[in-house]
Symmetry: C2
């Protein structure tokens, strides 16, 4: 699934509610999910990791939608050509 | 670009260094990027938003790689069919 399709899918499921909640409130949810991912990583809870990564990506996507950012365009624009600092692959920033 | 391709691209650029740094150190970088995104959102810095969203996605991807998680499989597995709680689109969890 393309990044853009995933962001669109999350919009279909959650945009109305998330945009009504607003940027700051939705950012709190996003940070809560980052915390849950952190806990799963710290504890080495492999059975929960996939779901927690999915949740952080979903909340990042909805934040981008509220902010009017196309996540795929942003991601490929910055990283498709290699490290954005040194322009090399692998990164050679040292 | 597919989520899987982006994760692979980030691996090509950064995996050797990030995996050598390890999970905890890479998680610190990830959180630093979340902080930079937060600042750009709070300040309404539209010219920086795209880059900050890209950075958080890149660091989330590299964390997933270190943890052995396929971000696309995780994301689509949880969200492709609608809200994972109520199974509806849009979400009707109330």
């Amino acid at each position: 699934m393309r990044i853009q399709e995933f962001q669109k899918r999350i919009e279909e499921i959650y945009f109305e509610r998330d945009s009504a909640r607003g940027l700051a409130g939705t950012h709190m949810w996003f940070c809560e999910e980052v915390g849950e991912l952190t806990r799963a990583l710290r504890r080495g809870q492999r059975d929960e990791l996939e779901g927690e990564f999915a949740d952080v990506l979903a909340w990042l996507s909805t934040l981008a939608s509220i902010a009017g950012v196309d996540l795929q365009a942003a991601a490929t624009g910055k990283y498709a050509a290699g490290c954005p600092r040194c322009r090399e692959t692998p990164c050679n920033c040292g």
